[in-house]
Symmetry: C2
Subunit: 338 residues, 2 copies
């Protein structure tokens, strides 16, 4: 129903508005893009686009700006993901390769994403529930006090204190450690509960309490949504939001401080590729004037976590999507190596 030219006009509006941050009028459009028609024609097209809800006027007698619906159409049908250039790809790789441990990988990824996209970057730590167990370690700190250390194949390490109901001998400890590891090492975390179910039965009556306590601590660690962690960065980029930003920036900062909000935000994107949520498509009210570009990453083919950026709806979608996708790819590689 929308003619080819009208789509072209929409694309031109989005591109100009993203560049100039100012409402774009019919005359400016014809001057900067050779659409082959006069401003008057463009005006008619604009009226039609406005009728359909793809663009809007901030005030009468101003230029047009894209609506969320307009950006949606642009992303879905008018824009191609812009691939990174070779030097950019090399830079990404170099930057990530120096990482010394998982925290470092995540921290570097956040900084990298923030720099590349000039937006706020969010990186989720590899999910425990979607990883496999590399090793479980038990340390005796005091006669009735243990430390449980959990290590995943993605390099993530979690530790928990365990207060035992009764003192636990060094031999029992070694036994438990060995049995635990032989059962769960290399297995997926989601399988752990059933794998250790009958473990207490292998121990003396007096040790069973402690073994159960250790196991329940282990299982608690895996409870979804407790185990998720993430890191954000590049919040200084929010200051480039626009001239009217003082009122925009606060709800965004507030939303970014809520782990739950961000996790939901990333979690909602089920798409295997890059997902874009524009303006009001985001459930959280504070993020109604932002877009979220996210993608899963993982060491193998499977995604173990998500990463993405949060920026104004008026953003360079092709470039941002390209950067996000590229970074996710390289982070996956780095994790596979470690």
């Amino acid at each position: 129903m929308l003619s080819e030219r009208r789509l072209e006009v929409l694309r031109a509006i989005v591109q100009d508005y993203v560049g100039t941050e100012e409402p774009v009028g019919s005359k400016a459009l014809t001057e900067r893009h050779n659409l082959g028609v006069s401003p008057a024609t463009v005006r008619n097209d604009m009226a039609a686009l406005e009728e359909e809800g793809f663009i809007a006027q901030p005030h009468t007698s101003a230029g047009r700006i894209p609506t969320d619906k307009g950006y949606r159409l642009f992303v879905d049908r008018l824009a191609a993901v812009k691939p990174m250039t070779a030097p950019e790809r090399r830079a990404i790789q170099n930057f990530l390769e120096g990482a010394v441990d998982l925290d470092d990988v995540v921290a570097r990824t956040v900084r990298l994403l923030a720099q590349l996209t000039r937006q706020v970057a969010v990186v989720q730590y590899p999910s425990l529930t979607r990883s496999t167990v590399r090793h479980v370690e038990l340390l005796s700190l005091a006669p009735a006090r243990l430390m449980l250390v959990l290590i995943t194949d993605t390099g993530r390490v979690e530790q928990r204190m365990v207060d035992c109901p009764a003192p636990f001998g060094e031999t029992s400890l070694a036994d438990l450690r060995a049995r635990l590891n032989s059962r769960v090492a290399g297995r997926r975390f989601t399988d752990v509960p059933t794998l250790v179910e009958d473990l207490p039965e292998a121990f003396d009556r007096e040790d069973r309490g402690t073994v159960s306590t250790v196991l329940s601590t282990l299982l608690e660690t895996l409870v979804e949504e407790n185990e998720e962690r993430l890191m954000i960065g590049g919040t200084a980029n929010l200051t480039r939001f626009g001239h009217d930003f003082p009122l925009m920036i606060r709800p965004v900062l507030e939303a970014l401080e809520e782990q739950m909000v961000l996790l939901k935000l990333l979690g909602e994107a089920k798409d295997p590729g890059v997902t874009v949520r524009i303006g009001h498509e985001n459930a959280h009210e504070g993020l109604n004037s932002t877009s979220v570009v996210s993608v899963g990453y993982g060491s193998g083919g499977e995604a173990v976590a998500k990463l993405g950026v949060v920026g104004p709806t008026r953003m360079d979608y092709p470039g941002t999507m390209g950067a996000v996708r590229a970074v996710a790819r390289y982070v996956g590689q780095i994790l596979a190596e470690s």
Copy 2:
């Protein structure tokens, strides 16, 4: 040289300005505080205070606002740290007690501080170099690939990958693990280098390369300023900075993103009690219009790290100092228990 009343006037100015965020004039001062003198007298005092550089006028014929020097005098001589109330103290304790591991303690502390002070909170992880070793763990991931896990008495856990120059047997590994722990467990990290110096000599020639590699990885982990980590939160509070904030907020956000800047900021405060750095006293330019209130915390008497808040120079110093001190105290307790 400054009479008692003039100090009283300064105190009144600081208090009013902190409350109203607006320059305060002589008339308003006499109305809100019973100084026992007329506005005209206060005006003379103000002129004197301005002469000495404690207060300033934003423009001719406006009220006065305190200068950095004025705040400094206020903090040093006119203000007492405001202790937390009993319910507040209970709330702090309750909030921190639910923490499940060190990351959680730090995360909760950041949120707590940000909420209590309504400012940006910064919490440094317990320094490795100022902690003692609880345990060193070595795991074999592949024939020539180890994972080194370092656990401190404050609950901090660091892990590193080690690529061995030669395959390393399971018995050698157990041997190294045992020797390493018997030497360093319970010792201060700063002593570790000398304690492990001659360790390679106890091993067969073929294993020495690997042992050395492990040790140098261990030592690298301890290099100061690489090993420091921190967490920040409450950046949304920056939006309460003032009406002129758009230009203020960016450099602050940028400074907060630089780990190094923050570490220096906290590191500079050598005072055993609460330290306050006001405005231009902060070396970093972006923080010239902010004040930093920080204090050391630790499980015992000794500080293992710092925490604090960053806010506008126009802040409630007594209250902020009280909150920071109280939180530090409770975090110390929590760490001592774990």
